[in-house]
């Protein structure tokens, strides 16, 4: 019975070594397929008798470099997709949001101590304007911090545009339905376009509401109607009685859109038109 191993082919008659160059061995090994029913584990001494290595150390060393080469290649391949970077971009964006909010809260608290007449509460004061006031009003560290927060906010807006643009490119159908930013967030939660494309609509519907979902599954609490997709205006603007339905229909269409994005990679106008119409229809309250 012929056994194809990483160092060569072995059968009853003898063995044919495949050389000792790690790169060449890796390339050969990548193409090997073994039927598990007839598989016989390697006896490293076969590799020695084959003339590939002389000692156990050499055997392990060579096998290690072959496997390392293969692993490097596979890693590079898995990072190749355009969706992989988008994933990191959107995570950075969400992290920036967090950091900016935390820092501005802290800056406001601090400013309030140095300036008793200042209160943010009960005033509709946008964060950007508030930071401007703090920057001018405060001195030293606080003023510097406010300036940095402002700069971070600028970085955030630029990154947001980048994310949207990249999402439009990587997932045109999904982005068309729900907007680039939310599409990118779905992608990030799913862990990549291949993963998102394999999700059922019902999973996409509750992506981002894992806590509510699992507390529902574990017992008692009502199921979540929507996760990340709530961020889309069609869901959060929908009247309460139909919001669940809108979320469900939208998620179902998103599942199809993600598959189109993954397997076709281009916008499909006919699908989008029908999907939009169907989603709009779901938002109409029964009279």
């Amino acid at each position: 019975m012929l056994q194809r191993y990483w160092f060569g082919d072995v059968d009853e008659v003898g063995c044919r070594a495949a050389g000792t160059d790690p790169a060449a061995l890796a390339e050969r090994a990548a193409a090997l397929r073994t039927g598990m029913d007839s598989f016989v584990p390697i006896d490293w001494e076969t590799a020695r008798d084959c003339g590939v290595v002389r000692t156990r150390e050499e055997y392990v060393d060579l096998l290690r470099s072959v496997c390392t080469t293969l692993a490097r290649k596979k890693i590079a391949l898995s990072y190749q997709g355009r969706d992989v970077e988008l994933l990191q971009m959107v995570r950075m964006l969400d992290e920036l949001d967090n950091v900016i909010n935390l820092l501005s809260e802290r800056a406001a608290e601090w400013y309030q101590v140095t300036n008793p007449s200042f209160s943010r509460k009960y005033r509709s004061l946008p964060a950007k304007k508030m930071l401007g006031i703090i920057r001018k009003g405060a001195r030293g560290g606080l003023s510097d911090a406010a300036e940095e927060i402002d700069r971070l906010a600028g970085t955030r807006s630029r990154l947001m545009r980048e994310v949207s643009a990249r999402a439009d490119e990587v997932m045109p159908n999904t982005s068309a339905l729900i907007g680039g930013l939310v599409a990118a967030r779905l992608l990030s939660k799913a862990g990549g376009l291949p993963a998102l494309a394999r999700m059922p609509g019902s999973t996409i519907q509750v992506l981002g509401s894992e806590r509510a979902l699992f507390s529902h599954l574990r017992g008692g609490t009502p199921p979540p109607k929507h996760g990340i997709i709530f961020q889309h205006r069609r869901v959060h603007n929908a009247p309460k009685p139909v919001r669940g339905r809108v979320a469900r229909v939208l998620a179902a269409k998103l599942a199809i859109a993600a598959r189109l994005d993954y397997y076709r990679g281009e916008a499909v106008p006919e699908f989008l038109k029908d999907a939009q119409a169907r989603i709009d229809e779901a938002g109409v309250e029964a009279s």
Binding site: I42, R64, I75
Partner: protein, 200 residues
């Protein structure tokens, strides 16, 4: 296994993941590593210098590095690219770790690299953990051992962990002798270790 007082340690070059060292040994923390927890709780299979191990789900290679301190060779299988990058770095500094990037549920992908091993250690977060273990039995010597770290929550969060464990145990008993089953409380919640041996 090497103990300093009641602290589990392993002999080897430190500084793999910022682990503490004690008298020149690397501390193997039961709160971080499920295998260390198993040993700390008095279970497990003694790791000796001549054995070969197949490690399924090696992740970043922290536990794998401790195993490698004890044994002859570790075949470390990991599927995800991010932890694989870390594992490669660990393997670069430990000459007896063979890093294999493959899916543990598809042993035919890495069979061409495998010799028979004395111990299969499996720690994968998959719902079909028992099935994955079964598929990898082709690499286990008769009389060799399997340590399966059952993450009951990965199998099914809705079901009672004890029930999940009983089912896994029954599944393993089809082809293996189950020697020891224990929960890893208080170190890891809802994780159980199942130690089996292959019929000789």
């Amino acid at each position: 296994m090497k103990w300093l007082g009641n602290v589990l340690v392993s002999p080897g070059e430190g500084g793999v993941y910022g682990e503490r060292t004690l008298e020149g040994y690397r501390v193997w923390d039961p709160y971080r590593s499920k295998l260390a927890a198993l040993y700390t709780l008095g279970g497990g299979i003694e790791l000796t210098p001549e054995i070969r191990v197949l490690y399924l789900g090696a992740a970043n290679g922290t536990t794998a590095s401790h195993v490698a301190d004890y044994v002859e060779t570790v075949y470390a299988v990991e599927f995800a690219p991010r932890p694989m990058q870390d594992l490669l770095e660990v393997a670069r500094r430990r000459r007896n770790i063979i890093p294999i990037m493959a899916d543990a549920s598809r042993p035919e992908e890495y069979a061409p690299f495998m010799e028979a091993v004395d111990l299969v250690y499996q720690d994968v977060a998959q719902p079909n953990q028992v099935e994955i273990a079964e598929r990898n039995l082709a690499f286990l010597k008769p009389g060799g051992h399997l340590i399966l770290m059952l993450k009951t929550r990965s199998v099914d969060v809705r079901r009672d962990p004890a029930e999940v464990l009983a089912e896994a145990r029954a599944g393993l008993e089809r082809r293996l002798d189950v020697a020891d089953v224990r929960w890893l409380d208080p170190y890891h919640q809802d994780h159980a270790a199942i130690v089996c041996s292959r019929r000789g």
